[in-house]
């Protein structure tokens, strides 16, 4: 099928691709915009832990593209890209459909890599999309149910052990979430929560090595140990083989085996293989782009997000960067069509945010101030919910989330179970108390003035009835 060659084709509906599409539509861009994406739903990756735990539901963090794009002029095509021909300005899909373009946006993200570890692709569960988060939830629930039914202690121990491979931000956030969540789930089934074991396996001795969050190392380490069930560390351990219920690793030149019921893999990502074959420069698979996010030899092609890198101003592969790049590309494509020159993109890093358990997080604002605990959690969720694409969707979800926080609906675990206090309600009570006490303090300090100024309200008379003022 031959499409109009005036079209702007966007490959990949992640943060970079989706934001480009939505912003082109918002800018009343007059040419056709086609978004090609293999999945039918958008995964809001930073909030996948909340999807796993049930703190947020699918409609909130794993919405359908159809709904997100309903009020826009974007054409959504659910299909997988098979090849890209930059010379001919053409994209071929697995269904053999062909799209010609005038502008192309490459936003295909990255892909999980298992570093050729035997058995990893078969038995380890990745955690990069809504679908995978839901699969992991089902698997964990199933394991807990098997555990409660078995009377063999060794088997139960295996079923209740979860290995998380990779201590980058995703591994740490997942470990913290599970170490709070699994004891509560198992406890509800009538099991002994103390039998749960969450093991974080890492190749190096350090967690968060080389990551933008590396300065949060101490906070993260403390949080991992402070969960309902403290997370066990297995560091300096290179995973060499994975089987259905065991992880084999090398530590201190010795081969050891850990029996586990669940294996989650967060250890590595690699570039999208489609992009490796393009006749353009790349840095370990990330396409090298100009500061305006264009490919140097193909100015009509833009690239952003995890699959692109500007060698002068390298940015970390994060959602925070990807969505800002998406917005900038929308602007530059429009400029290009209007005959203006594209503008170099300026990424504003607002600091980093991490989930460190149910209802606990850390917000590292502008890389200067660290706000841990429940306030950190609230800042993190509010920030991410603010980023949800599409304003109408966003407003609805934020309102839902706010009411959830206030009235504690949809909670996978009560504050009581976590031994915590709902921060917002606590502070609201405190504020109400201060407001309530103010007239009383006023009356005690300046009885005459209080009497005169507030006489019209009837409050002084009421209080005098309760306790007569000194004569």
């Amino acid at each position: 099928m031959q499409q109009a060659s005036q079209a702007t084709v966007i490959l990949g509906g992640g943060f970079a691709g989706l934001f480009t599409a939505l912003h082109l539509s918002q800018r009343k861009y007059t040419h056709q915009v086609i978004l090609i994406e293999q999945r039918d739903r958008f995964s809001f990756k930073p909030l996948l832990y909340e999807l796993l735990s049930g703190e947020l539901h699918s409609a909130q963090v794993y919405p359908r593209y159809k709904e997100l794009l309903a009020s826009s002029s974007v054409t959504f095509v659910q299909d997988t890209v098979k090849s890209i021909d930059l010379e001919q300005s053409r994209v071929t899909l697995t269904s053999s459909r062909i799209f010609n373009y005038r502008n192309l946006v490459l936003a295909l993200g990255s892909k999980t890599t298992y570093f050729n570890t035997p058995g990893a692709a078969e038995y380890a569960m990745p955690f990069t999309s809504g679908e995978q988060a839901i699969a992991l939830r089902k698997h964990l629930r199933h394991r807990l149910h098997q555990a409660i039914q078995t009377s063999d202690p060794a088997r139960r121990r295996l079923l209740l052990t979860v290995a998380i491979i990779g201590a980058g931000p995703a591994g740490i956030e997942l470990a913290c979430t599970l170490a709070d969540l699994l004891p509560i789930w198992y406890d509800e089934l009538g099991g002994d929560a103390a039998e749960i074991r969450v093991v974080l396996i890492n190749r190096s001795k350090e967690i968060l090595k080389g990551d933008v969050n590396s300065h949060l190392r101490c906070t993260a380490q403390r949080a991992l140990k402070g969960r309902i069930i403290p997370v066990d560390f297995l560091f300096d351990a290179a995973v060499s083989k994975i089987q259905a219920d065991s992880v084999e690793y090398q530590q201190n030149n010795k081969t050891q085996i850990l029996q586990v019921g669940t294996i989650a893999w967060t250890a590595g990502t690699t570039a999208n293989p489609l992009l490796m074959n393009l006749p353009v420069a790349n840095n370990r698979g990330r396409l090298l782009v100009t500061p305006t996010l264009q490919l140097p030899d193909f100015p009509e092609v833009f690239a952003a997000g995890d699959c692109a890198a500007d060698s002068d101003q390298p940015q970390p592969p994060t959602a925070q960067v990807a969505y800002q790049q998406g917005i900038a590309i929308a602007q530059n494509i429009q400029h290009q069509r209007e005959g203006k020159s594209p503008i170099p993109v300026e990424i504003k890093m607002r600091g980093t945010l991490m989930k460190l358990g149910l209802n606990e997080g850390v917000a590292n604002l502008f890389n200067k101030v660290q706000i841990p605990g429940q306030p950190g959690h609230l800042i993190r969720e509010a920030t991410y919910l603010q980023l949800l694409p599409n304003a109408a969707h966003n407003r609805k979800i934020t309102t839902e989330w706010l009411t959830d926080e206030l009235f504690q609906r949809h909670r996978p675990a009560s504050y009581m179970q976590l031994g915590q206090t709902p921060w917002l309600s606590g502070v609201a009570t405190l504020a109400a108390g201060v407001i309530f006490a103010t007239p009383l303090v006023w009356r005690a300090a300046q009885p005459m003035q209080f009497q005169q100024n507030l006489h019209w309200t009837g409050v002084p008379t009421l209080l005098n009835q309760l306790a007569p003022p000194p004569q």
Binding site: H57, S58, Y62, E131, I134, K138, R141, H145, D187, E188, L189, G190, D192, A193, I228, M416, Q417, L418, G419, T421, P422, S425, G426, T429, L430, A432, G433, V434, F436, A437, L440, V441, R443, A444, P447, L463, L466, A467, P468, P469, P470
Partner: protein, 171 residues
């Protein structure tokens, strides 16, 4: 009967009553702040009694507190009673608010003594400072709060829930 014999209910009722008591005394202390022998005067002029008035001779107490401590204490104690009492009753930060309440109660015991009016044996006059009981009751609430996390809430319907949840799952 199930509710009456439920430990959580008993501790919750106890906690709410304790919190409410402090909340109301905070209000009362402000209302009767300036009256003769009212709250302010008591704090400014009262000696610390430790054991109690009269017994044994020579232990009548020390003080009164220097005004540098007594004045802020007098103004802030009722406010603290209102705020901390409300938080404690509503189950917010029970460990910390409980600890504060215990400290506040302890300061009151220091002021009025362990045996405020009569002898140690009940004799018509107030014989034993009830604040001591308050401290132990608050302690129970704090300890229960810590214990709550670890308690096993064995829910027989959990298996049924699982089946329902699974059927209603997102995908």
């Amino acid at each position: 009967m199930r509710y009456l014999l439920n430990l959580r209910t008993a501790v919750s009722v106890n906690r709410i009553i304790m919190g409410l008591f402090f909340f109301v005394s905070g209000i009362a202390n402000y209302l009767n702040f300036n009256v003769a022998n009212g709250f302010y005067q008591t704090v400014i002029t009262q000696k610390l009694q430790i054991i109690g008035p009269g017994i044994p001779p020579g232990w009548e107490g020390i003080g009164p507190l220097p005004s540098l401590i007594a004045i802020p204490y007098a103004w802030l104690l009722p406010l603290a009673e209102i705020l901390v009492g409300a938080l404690f009753a509503l189950n917010y930060w029970v460990r910390w608010t409980g600890l504060l309440l215990i400290l506040m109660t302890f300061s009151i015991i220091l002021a009025f003594g362990i045996i405020p009016a009569g002898t140690l044996f009940p004799n018509g006059a107030e014989s034993f400072n009830k604040n001591i009981l308050f401290m132990t009751l608050i302690w129970i609430c704090i300890a229960y709060d810590a214990y709550e996390q670890k308690m096993s809430r064995r829910r027989t319907e959990a298996m049924a829930n699982y089946a329902v949840n699974n059927a209603m799952d997102d995908m």
